[in-house]
């Protein structure tokens, strides 16, 4: 659908991403009518929150506000503080600069990053001017953490961090926080924790929406195919940007549990659409095309609500993780 003359919205979003061909301007218009009002209200509330709690100590009230979305202008600062990335940076203020001053980057690493640079957000009209900085962040991180090095997918995480913060060094510290504290061992050479969490996710789907799991397994689409990218990129380049940022707001405040909440919410909110799929190709298309621009995910407000209406405890995730690791060991024997 093209933006029509009466459409209030351009074919590029506020972050510089070109809207997809199937983008539904009418639906989006309806959503934005109310969301814009919410955004204004929220910004006023955040002004007072920051006056009350300038160090952004994470209390119940702040957590509640974060779940409702951090206003764009505050986002970088809030992410840096609540995640602990700012504190980590203060402890090691010269780290980033010293990494950039390494005499020779390892060729294998810099080559593989270079291949992905033009392939990161080509649909973003501002991103060309950020590519050099993206290279610096990824290369510095790959040399800082040799266990991970460069993992494809980090380009999307670091790229989106750069779009939000417009600050190379802060993006580096937030990337480091995600890779090392939120989802450790997802991006390392054996991707061990990613495999474990895909198995955990499958168990959760079996428990919460068994009919959906049956459909997915009957059609024969492996969870690794459906959800690897969700977990590796923490939904960057999977869901609409605004929705990803709302998820990241919560991820920085509350940790990895949010990633499971979002993945489960995707299955639950798309339950009927999944059950309607007649073959594996239709199912794959649903996950790839509909999910990135359909109204369920574009309406980030309702989507976040549906994430938090799911019963999910850290203790449940931790015990499922233990079982997944045991199963993995057993099957390797």
């Amino acid at each position: 659908m093209e933006p029509t003359a009466e459409s209030k919205f351009s074919d590029v979003d506020e972050y510089g991403f070109k809207r997809g061909e199937k983008f539904d301007y009418k639906d989006y218009g309806k959503f934005m009518d109310s969301y814009l009002k919410t955004l204004t209200r929220r910004r006023i509330k955040w002004e007072s929150i920051i006056r009350e709690n300038p160090e952004l100590i994470l209390n119940t009230k702040l957590k509640r506000y974060i779940r409702k979305g951090i206003p764009g202008p505050y986002r970088t600062d809030v992410w840096m503080k609540i995640s602990g990335a700012e504190a980590a940076q203060k402890k090691n203020p010269n780290l980033y600069r010293s990494l950039l001053n390494i005499d020779h980057f390892i060729k294998e690493i810099s080559d593989s990053i270079s291949i992905d640079l033009p392939r990161t957000f080509p649909d973003n009209i501002h991103f060309d001017s950020k590519k050099e900085r993206l290279f610096n962040i990824l290369c510095a991180y790959a040399h800082h953490n040799r266990d991970v090095g460069y993992c494809q997918g980090l380009n999307y995480i670091a790229g989106l961090l750069l779009i939000v913060t417009d600050d190379e060094e802060k993006s580096f510290w937030l990337l480091k926080h995600i890779v090392e504290n939120i989802v450790p061992q997802y991006h390392s050479h054996n991707m061990a924790s990613l495999l474990r969490d895909l198995a955990v996710f499958r168990e959760l789907v079996i428990k919460r929406v068994p009919a959906v799991n049956r459909r997915v397994e009957d059609l024969g689409l492996p969870y690794a195919v459906i959800a690897s990218k969700w977990f590796i990129c923490i939904f960057a380049e999977v869901l609409p940007v605004e929705t990803v940022l709302r998820i990241w707001d919560c991820v920085f405040a509350e940790g990895y549990k949010i990633v499971f909440r979002a993945a489960l919410a995707l299955f639950i909110t798309h339950k009927n659409l999944i059950l309607e799929c007649e073959d594996i190709a239709a199912l794959a298309n649903l996950f790839r095309d509909t999910m990135i621009q359909g109204s369920i995910v574009t309406d980030c407000h309702s989507f976040i609500d549906s994430m938090f209406s799911i019963r999910l405890k850290r203790s449940e995730l931790e015990s499922l993780r233990k079982v997944a690791v045991l199963n993995e060991h057993m099957s390797n024997k």
């Binding site: 993992c151 494809q152 492996p222 195919v225 594996i280």
Partner: protein, 214 residues
Amino acid sequence: MGAREDEYDYLFKVVLIGDSGVGKSNLLSRFTRNEFNLESKSTIGVEFATRSIEVDGKTIKAQIWDTAGQERYRAITSAYYRGAVGALLVYDIAKHLTYENVERWLRELRDHADQNIVIMLVGNKSDLRHLRSVPTDEAKLFAERNGLSFIETSALDSTNVETAFQNILTEIYRIVSQKQIRDPPEGDVIRPSNVEPIDVKPTVTADVRKQCCQ
């Protein structure tokens, strides 16, 4: 595209492998949707698309799987090779290293795929004539020595993309249909002995689907 999506005589799973950036995803989109995206994005995880073609009056549905080229992604791709009857091993004719790594990919196939998998070596980006670093003859010779078929393609200008997929699917079809004459199927689920189940048998649609890619 072509025959009706839900009706087919054979379902073949074909995987695209090769280094990062050689053009696997664009080969897939060129063949299944006749699209080429100059603004292509790095593939993360696994993607796939289907297209049906006709061979000898039979409808063959090709299910083509595409994955990230980076080595560590092999960790999540055990499901990737399961049931695959064909592999397009792609390199970039303008990047010699991607051709040198073909041996590594062959080892990968030997370790994880069915031993009877049909492999085609594909030199992609043949439109980059002025940047060529892998001579056609050299690659052709290498393919012959290793028992692979060989073709050069350009997903950008479409050269040989159709032919590459047609050829590999036809080759698989010939093998499968000959095998059927030799060993007629018993019941509707047939497994070759000693090897992982490999979905090359025509059977009722629903069973084919269930079997093809767990």
